[in-house]
């Protein structure tokens, strides 16, 4: 799984998510979720504990979707046909729609984790240059900016303490406090970015496509089989689900 070409993996996952957007059959979706999880755990060599930890916030999100859709659903065409849901009797249509939606959101999460947990970040960006013709200027610029993430997180903590010392908390509104954090953080990020851009150009980086690569990424038939299997599995899930109904 880790060896699948990152661009193809991203494309497959995205395409699968789009197809799922037009799928309203809860059972088929559930089957596909099971499939995606199985592929991730079996071929992705992801620890189950780690996987569950990552999945937890998404589960909460899906439950939120479920509840809110139940509460704000459109008026069903047959309100008399009801179904028991936990303790309440609700219109069957509403329950089905809500369940389908929550399950769909959940299936996006599993697809996302399939990608996130099995893909090296640098590999993804480099493969975008090599397979998707993304401009090196853009791609290396993104990597350079991404490097700031831990620096800026630390900086945010320091700014908080520094403001605490100055008694900023006592006499300002919440909004101006957000501003007091955001502006120094952005200013520092922009200056870092300018310095990094200069350092990159000082190493002879021109942003042209004409360069060599230390790490090269290729596509092979395995990648395409992966794409076909992942997408084909959706069809399979639909068929299996239909045969049960």
């Amino acid at each position: 799984m880790h060896n699948i070409n990152p661009s193809i993996k991203a494309g497959t996952v995205t395409l699968a998510a789009i197809v799922i957007a037009f799928l309203f059959d809860p059972l088929a979706l559930l089957l596909y979720i099971g499939w995606t999880i199985a592929v991730t755990l079996l071929f992705g060599k992801v620890q189950i504990r780690k996987y569950l930890l990552y999945l937890l916030p998404f589960t909460l999100f899906a439950i939120g979707m479920l509840v809110s859709t139940l509460l704000f659903a459109k008026i069903p065409e047959n309100p008399s046909v009801t179904q028991q849901f936990l303790f309440w009797d609700l219109p069957r249509e509403t329950v089905q729609d809500a369940l389908a939606l929550a399950i769909r959101v959940f299936s996006y999460s599993t697809l996302s984790l399939l990608f996130v947990l099995t893909t090296d970040k640098v590999a993804f960006i480099l493969s975008l240059i090599q397979q998707c013709r993304v401009s090196p200027k853009l791609a290396y610029g993104i990597l350079a900016g991404y490097r700031f993430l831990p620096l800026l997180k630390d900086e945010l903590t320091t700014i908080r303490s520094a403001h605490l010392i100055r008694g900023a908390k006592t006499n300002t509104s919440k909004f101006s406090r957000y501003k007091q954090y955001t502006i120094p953080l952005l200013a520092s990020a922009i200056r870092k970015a300018e310095r990094t851009a200069i350092a990159m150009e000082s190493k002879g980086f021109t942003g042209e496509r004409d360069r060599t690569f230390y790490r090269t990424y290729h596509t092979s038939w395995i990648d395409w089989i992966f794409a076909a299997v992942m997408l084909g599995a959706i069809v399979l899930c639909i068929i299996v689900s239909k045969s049960f109904q």
Binding site: V122, Y140, A162, R195, Y214
Partner: protein, 535 residues
């Protein structure tokens, strides 16, 4: 005569927003094998010159640039985009912002790819440059796991991979502690032995580079050249001018001046004559016996790792304490615990006889000031005046007085972020002092500052100390410690390993164990002692 490597002819640069030129009518040549040190007051355009020499200007410049720069006989504007950077390599001062990849080997490869080197040759090239700087063992590691000094070595290696003929080092030690700085200099000496490379070093700390440089250039405030030649000659002819402009002199020269030694002055302590005497006013020790901070069995843990372990520590009111030690030893952590900015995992810390956690946050920080390393983090308003007036019941006159103390009276309306580095630092200290705290903690207040700002700051801090403010100062500068501190704490691996008067520390402790060195005068005394041993 051989062809010069680089020729600069009447270079003038004026930024769009400035009325005066930043670099003014600069002409000089660099020969193959020169090892140049460029000194200049802050704001004299040293970094601007860097960008001109490596071809980033005029392309990236918002402003005007006139004059000529040629490399090996051809004008640098005739080089194809990116090509001049392969001849003139640059290492910048901030080790954090010179990378665009996540691992050590990828970062080196980035330059090799720019140079369009065949991928087959990259493996061996990466090995070669990493071993030049002594980072072979970190090849596969993530860059963020490296220390500041190692990052700077990586930046050097990434530039060396381009095989430049001229190497510019733009304040490479500005963000490194003394131990890491010396290590970097050692690496560059080693490099000079391995290959023929010309160095152009911009620095404010001369002492580190004495063994390497063979030529010195001095820039004036307006960005014109006022000296080009031998450093010994510079310090003997222009010592007053250099000091007026905030340029640090070598420690040996400072000692010679202090001892009123006749010129010519030598550049290193080893060459000072015997028999010099220096006044030592040991700071008086006030025994108030009133504790301001009391630490008992405080431990700070991150996951399972003990980062700080302080069985007992008392700080008396009126002390001026210096905390010192290697980077990453726990100095800053200790200061954050004492001030309640971080909570200990276990144990208790009292401030003015009351446990920190029982204090109300805003009352506590009326009494405690803390000056962070980066002054920008502390600014809350959009003017210098606003910073001093913020949240405090201070009168108009007091604000004016404090503006004058830090020499910013004519900048009162400016946005704090637009000040120079030294001005920002002075402002951040002043914002803490206007509230007259009982305890003031300063994290490396003079680090990277020119001699002028250092004097203004220490003067300000000293005056408040005289009025009874207890001071805790984190610093690597042992001369500063020697002049001002009444007590020194050396922190190593999360423990306070030494706690004594400065004079006793200089006599008894082997400071090199902690990446530190003696104050200049004690280094001189030590040398005399060793001389007499071998005599």
């Amino acid at each position: 005569m051989k062809q010069p490597l680089l020729e600069v002819d009447q270079l003038t640069v004026t930024f769009e927003e400035e009325s005066c030129s930043t670099l003014t009518d600069l002409s000089f040549t660099i020969q193959q094998g020169d090892d140049i040190l460029l000194l200049g007051p802050s704001g004299s355009g040293k970094s601007t010159l860097t960008y001109c020499l490596n071809g980033l200007y005029p392309k990236e410049l918002d402003g005007k640039m006139s004059g000529n720069i040629s490399f090996a006989g051809s004008n640098i504007e005739e080089f194809k985009s990116g090509k001049i950077n392969l001849e003139v390599g640059t290492v910048f001062q901030d080790p954090e912002t010179q990378f665009c990849m996540l691992t050590v080997e990828d970062e080196i490869a980035f330059g090799l790819e720019n140079k369009k080197i065949s991928p087959d040759l990259m493996e061996s090239e990466i090995d070669r440059v990493l071993s030049l700087v002594g980072l072979q063992h970190r090849r596969k590691d993530q860059i963020h796991t490296l220390s500041g000094g190692q990052k700077q070595k990586l930046a050097l290696a990434a530039v060396l991979a381009l095989e430049p003929r001229l190497l510019i080092l733009d304040e490479p030690t500005a963000n490194l502690d003394p131990a890491a700085s010396k290590d970097l200099v050692k690496t560059i000496r080693h490099l000079k032995e391995q290959q023929d490379i010309t160095l152009f070093i911009i620095e404010h700390n001369i002492d580190y580079w004495l063994p390497i440089i063979n030529r010195t250039m001095l820039l004036d405030r307006d960005g014109s050249l006022f000296f080009d030649g031998d450093l010994r000659e510079a310090v003997n002819l222009y010592d007053e001018e250099m000091q007026q402009r905030g340029i640090w002199l070598p420690e040996a020269v400072l000692l010679a001046k202090q001892a009123q030694l006749a010129k010519p002055w030598p550049l290193t302590i080893d060459l000072l004559p015997h028999g010099l005497q220096f006044q030592t006013e040991a700071p008086e020790i006030k025994q108030t016996k009133k504790y301001i901070v009391h630490v008992e069995n405080a431990i700070f843990r991150n996951k399972d790792k003990v980062l700080l372990d302080i069985p007992a520590l008392d700080i008396q009111q009126g002390e001026l304490i210096a905390i010192t030690g290697k980077n990453g030893s726990g100095k800053t952590l200790l200061s954050r615990l004492i001030t309640g900015l971080l909570k200990p995992t276990a144990g208790d810390i009292e401030f003015l006889g009351k446990k920190l956690r029982r204090w109300k946050t805003n009352e506590l920080y009326q009494q405690i000031g803390y000056v962070f390393q980066n002054p920008e983090h502390q600014f809350l308003t959009d003017s210098v005046y606003g910073e001093l007036a913020f949240g405090q019941t201070v009168s108009e006159e007091e604000i004016q007085k404090s503006l004058e103390e830090i020499q910013l009276a004519d900048q009162a309306d400016k946005h704090p972020f637009t000040l120079s580095q030294g001005q920002k630092r002075r402002l951040s200290v002043a914002t803490m002092l206007v509230q007259e705290p009982q305890l003031l903690v300063l994290d490396e207040p003079t680090f990277g500052q020119d001699s002028h700002t250092t004097e203004v700051l220490m003067d300000l801090i000293w005056r408040h100390h005289q009025r009874g403010c207890t001071i805790i100062m984190i610093t690597h500068d042992m001369d500063l410690v020697d002049r001002f501190a009444s007590r020194v704490l050396i922190v190593d691996q999360g423990r306070v390993v030494e706690d004594n008067y400065p004079a006793s520390i200089w006599k008894k402790t082997d400071l090199s164990d902690y990446g530190l060195s003696l104050p200049a005068k004690d280094a001189y005394y030590k040398r005399l002692q060793e001389d007499s041993l071998y005599a």
